[in-house]
Amino acid sequence: MSMVMPKMNYLAEPKGLWSWIVTYDHKRIGLLYLAAITLFFAIAGFLAILIRTELLYPGQDIMDANTYNQVFTLHGAIMIFLFIIPSIPAALGNFVLPLMIGAKDVAFPKLNLASWYIYVFGSIFAIYSILASAVDTGWTFYTPYSTTTGTAVISMTLGAFILGFSSIFTGINFIVTVHKMRAPGMTWYKLPLMIWALYATALIQVMATPVLAITLLLLVLERWLGVGIFDPALGGDPVLYQHFFWFYSHPAVYIMILPALGIISELIATFSHKKIFGYKFIAYSSLAIAFTSFLVWAHHMFTSGQSELAAMIFSFITFFVGVPTGIKIFNWLLTMYKAQIDLRTPMVYALSFIFLFTIGGLTGIFLGALSVDIHLHDTYFIVAHFHYVMMGGTVIAFLGGLHFWWPKMFGKLYNETAGRIGAAIIFVGFNMTFLPQFVLGSQGMPRRYWTYVDAYQPLHAFSSYGSFILGLGFILVFVYLMHSLIWGRQAPKNIWGSLTMEWETTSPPHPHNFEEDKVLQHGPYDYDKVLIDRDEALTDYGYDTTTGEPGEHRESVAKE
């Protein structure tokens, strides 16, 4: 059986560049985001390679100290504000959320498009600050340094301020869409866990981002008018800035990780072909993480001079974050227990995620412990911890989700072997880069330094070589995904044999998502009740139906 691209699909209809520029279609907006974040990931990734190259040896290798400050600031600010925050919710989430709940679009399509333009507008501010005079404050813009440095802090913070609105608009859209646009029959407990995760994320986006907005606005006023709210020389309080900043930025960490947890739930259930274990626990743990995230911000400030009592309370509450996170991990493991696991590329990323995120999460518990944090604060241990969570967690899950939904998004299949090799290279490169940094940090290597004592050199060099491997892995992924767009085989409706609703439409989907109005037929994880024709899905792609491996008749299928 050979397949052809469905004629009526959102990529083809309506036609022309203009139809993309003014599109209200959530799927196209998702792709616009995807293109933008890929660009920024490449830029910030390149900056990361520059950082690691500089750190190969002590002293000046390729840049001086000042340039180094600017490079790591831009790496952090671009990765956080322009890549990770919009990555899963705005790019993948925009694409899959209405499809997964059987809606024709998000509740406010114009607002959705506006959020993309605001994002582009904000990123222009950020790029301007790079070109004008690179900001050297770190992505946190701590006062009083950020109010006194001679670099373009105003345009950078205005950029982040504008980007915040983009994030808020996406959040409003998702909350209302989940509440009001679900297909008939889709009750809250029939929602895919990805939707629960995106919903919890949207709550944080809506409730935390305005506080960042006012903080950055005050920072701009501080620099511009010298209002003296954060500036100690004028009677202000720099620690207040830190409180404000982390009141947003700690929940923001969960804006980055919660949707990743949602993706992993989908991947584990789909590729285990088994009813997910503890559905309600996973669903509510997303909300529990969102709630707890608002109560722990000051654990970033244990050494800032806040009261010891406050530090103790925040340290204590921080441990609670581990509980819902642990619940998720145990439920995933139990879902996989005794399952027939289908080790396709997205599942390789999911397993990789569990390994890396567990390390990232547990080291977070070390750092949440007050006394340990005093020793590890502002060292490479922190750097390794948040890269394990943000990159080993979010980026790996993002790649898993991208590989999972790629056939749905573009109607094309990528090379499975290349996919698995890419996932393996990224896993190895990632661990080589960041595992040594835990050791460096515990030995006292401070973060944000462009040079170091000779004793650290072997571990730094090892980490740098790891980052080069990691970079190669990403290039490989990019190459075979682009290759698939042109030469890839046509994807069937439901390549993975998944039960969530987005797989019931054509690949790529109809401009209005589904050709008919959707009504829920079965729950998203009813693998025990619904007989899915997995064989059909597999033979469509020329897979051997017993092993799930690419079979011999694959080539003949392609030729038909």
């Binding site: 509740a107 409003i172 909350i175 509440h179 981002t209 005050l218 501080e222 008018l225 209002v227 309080d237």
Partner: protein, 218 residues
């Protein structure tokens, strides 16, 4: 597009992705309330700064607040409350399908918002004149206590941001007037008026908190 056009031509204001007019109106309302929540949190940061600085320097705040004109603040409070009433009446008039009354109430709301800004202008102009300016521009010498400029920093940040919201509200009301003129609304469809009304009440409400916090300290 053909299929969606055929079943929605009778309800031209319902977008293709909604099942019916009710779903659309409910969605708009919920979206607006969430937006208002973000506004509250946005101002929340400033209220938080206010609380901290006032708790640190209660005497300075008390001394500095005496420079504000209580009568002007009180007048503005009344003006905004009345404008909220006229806004609510505009919604009611359109629910009854009365275009002329709706326009009259919308224009009244607009005018009252203008009055608020004019009074605010005179207050600001006086402060600029005597040097009661935020932060480093502060030159006034008549307030006792340490760092009185912080009071004016917080004052200008909060009332200034509120003033920007008033201007945004006036733009939205102007847009409503234009759309009402063009007969975009009727007794079955007046969601934008209702949504702008919600926003306007919030702007009013924020002032109702600002007025006692700055003008009525004791």
């Amino acid at each position: 597009m053909a299929d969606s056009a055929s079943h929605s031509h009778s309800m031209s204001h319902v977008a293709h992705h909604f099942a019916d007019s009710e779903q659309q109106a409910e969605s708009s309302k919920m979206g607006m309330w969430i937006f208002l929540l973000t506004e509250v949190l946005f101002f929340g940061g400033l209220f938080c700064a206010y609380v901290i600085f006032r708790a640190w320097k209660p005497d300075m705040f008390y001394e500095a607040h005496k420079t504000l004109s209580m009568s002007m603040g009180a007048t503005n409070t009344v003006v905004l409350i009345v404008s909220s009433v006229t806004m609510a009446l505009a919604i009611r008039a359109m629910q009854l399908g009365d275009k002329i009354k709706t326009l009259a109430y919308l224009w009244s709301t607009m005018a009252l918002a203008g009055v608020f800004l004019v009074i605010k202008y005179f207050e600001y102009a006086h402060k600029f004149h005597v040097g009661q300016l935020p932060g480093q521009f502060y030159t006034y010498t008549g307030v006792e206590g340490t760092n009185p400029h912080v009071f004016f920093s917080v004052y200008f940040a909060m009332t200034g941001l509120h003033g920007i919201h008033v201007i945004a509200g006036m733009i939205a009301i102007g847009w409503l007037i234009w759309r009402t003129q063009k007969n975009h609304f009727n007794a079955n469809y007046y969601t934008p008026i209702e949504m702008t009304g919600l926003y306007w009440h919030l702007v009013d409400l924020i002032w109702i908190f600002l007025f006692p916090l700055f003008y009525l300290i004791h």
